[in-house]
Symmetry: C2
Subunit: 406 residues, 2 copies
Amino acid sequence: MSIEAKFKKLGTDNAPGQEVRQSAAGLEALMRGAPLEGRPVDFSHGDVDAHEPTPGAFDLFSAGVMSGGVQAYTEYRGDLGIRDLLAPRLAAFTGAPVDARDGLIITPGTQGALFLAVAATVARGDKVAIVQPDYFANRKLVEFFEGEMVPVQLDYVSADETRAGLDLTGLEDAFKAGARVFLFSNPNNPAGVVYSAEEIGQIAALAARYGATVIADQLYSRLRYAGASYTHLRAEAAVDAENVVTIMGPSKTESLSGYRLGVAFGSRAIIARMEKLQAIVSLRAAGYSQAVLRGWFDEAPGWMEDRIARHQAIRDELLRVLRGCEGVFARTPQAGSYLFPRLPKLAVTPAEFVKILRLQAGVVVTPGTEFSPHTADSVRLNFSQDHEAAVAAAQRIVALVERYRA
Amino acid sequence: MSIEAKFKKLGTDNAPGQEVRQSAAGLEALMRGAPLEGRPVDFSHGDVDAHEPTPGAFDLFSAGVMSGGVQAYTEYRGDLGIRDLLAPRLAAFTGAPVDARDGLIITPGTQGALFLAVAATVARGDKVAIVQPDYFANRKLVEFFEGEMVPVQLDYVSADETRAGLDLTGLEDAFKAGARVFLFSNPNNPAGVVYSAEEIGQIAALAARYGATVIADQLYSRLRYAGASYTHLRAEAAVDAENVVTIMGPSKTESLSGYRLGVAFGSRAIIARMEKLQAIVSLRAAGYSQAVLRGWFDEAPGWMEDRIARHQAIRDELLRVLRGCEGVFARTPQAGSYLFPRLPKLAVTPAEFVKILRLQAGVVVTPGTEFSPHTADSVRLNFSQDHEAAVAAAQRIVALVERYRA
């Protein structure tokens, strides 16, 4: 594949944060009515001013800077002292052992962990099972390494509330067709649904049967709403621990994205490869930033409960606003801060509507096509926003749905 | 290529900072005499405690944190306000225009810039001209993307002091053989030599003649010693600006490695590809860290001169110590903080001697084989260290050379 062809597939025009590089040419002719007033809301990512970084994070960073060279130049997989702190916390959270020395790597964000994990498991031509819809980078990573994506559907729309809706037959078919890597996010990005204990059990059993490696992106697994139960794949009896890599990070729930931190843990062989690659990708997660992880999973009592309660309140009010619009379907997110409403048929294309939302309502959302070719009629909202501003923005979305209804 | 084969080539056992993961098994039998006392010195990278980060860097970081979400979530290519500040400074330094909007990307370290630049220019099977010796990651990057390395020799040993010693005929042969990318560091890592105006002019002319893209790693180009003149390839009249990417960063001279910052600038088309890839590699250089770049190329008057003078003093004393040992050859570095002495024939292998240096003398150096298959008899020292400790460590190196002399 030529370098031009390879990069042509890597479009980022609709990626969160990149809207500033979009052109609005040709939209004027389609627009109806006047702009809607209101505080702009960028639902493409969380608002860390509304939900601030974990208290103490900056002090830990400062202490890292003060400690000087030892914190600036860590092993590529991250400072051992910090890995020693994190491993038991991650083990307690996920219910299975974590080897601080050989089974854990600190990365530049969870994106860094995902990149390294896919690079360390997918060679050219390898088949990789990918959920539709799921985080858009999953597909792009597989394509970048010239793997072949085998889609597995997640029917979060029809599934009852007790399960995410994974097509388990589809997953087995993917394995039967030769896929030896399965990559998925739990809670699902964009739908916010959590895989049930039964679904995780089945994934574990299928992975074991076919000898597949599973990369579980659990970035949002700490922010769980009332009534949600969560099952960690890596703690399943059926799994071979060497065939699972779990990815997490403090960028979302903890609002620490500005420090670019993530972790991957599990399989020693895969972590070892990931570190070898990290050495030529970016050497290490920023040394001083790594120090911030000392406070991760060690937040003050009540801090997480409060953060969850605030997000649950925003979620519930957004759901009321969106469901008040005829033809909108929105499943209740069980964890994380993504809402993925399906919109009714409009007189403009979904891509046009997303741009119109930005230009006429000051509302940035991520188009559904980023997550699956089958979800063009949906948009993703990261509702980790100022409560009032988010509700007002959702009302503007509804107003424009009415205005552009087909 | 299988994933195992691909990663087997990516060895990092001798990479700087990774010595903690080495085994010393089997060395005991080879060792002669008692350990040498002295403060341990890790010459594999600079000592940012001895040469501290640029004053004000931490304050800029703090201000970045205070500014919140806008600094945490920048464009993938980095904050535009910061790019607007940097572009004219980089243009003034290199003598050619820099397009802040489309021709500049902020990356996680210069390593991040190198990775993205190679990924954006080298497809499977592409031939890439690589200097021997040069920064070890260059070769590994080409191999990772399954390019084919075409070595071009740098005869820094025999060349007179007015030139680095590049085999220009060899470079043209590489282009004739089909290489369309040339990747090199200037000043050269590990030899510390600077390419002459004539060499840079010839590289520019050859690149233009063969339509080749040049990636110039100028990481150390600010730390120049008395008498060194420096020519920026990107400012050469012969070059097509769209075929050159220049890489720099504040990790070395400015001791800001703990923030993980680098930049690449030049070709708009290549920078655009690099950003697309950054979106799936690590999203962006840590947002808060980017703020530190506001102070880059804006240091207090005299700060750089002082930093250069201190390094020149260390360089000169290390050269005296090393040249006092019979059979050691060490060319005078013209810029940067790398010394690459060639050692006389020893009774142990070069790899063993490097381990012995660590175990018996508390001195970490990088083996010459990391930079070229032809420089196994050399070791690289990053002499950005505490002056006295570095001199004492060099004396221990000399003492062990005597002890193990063949």
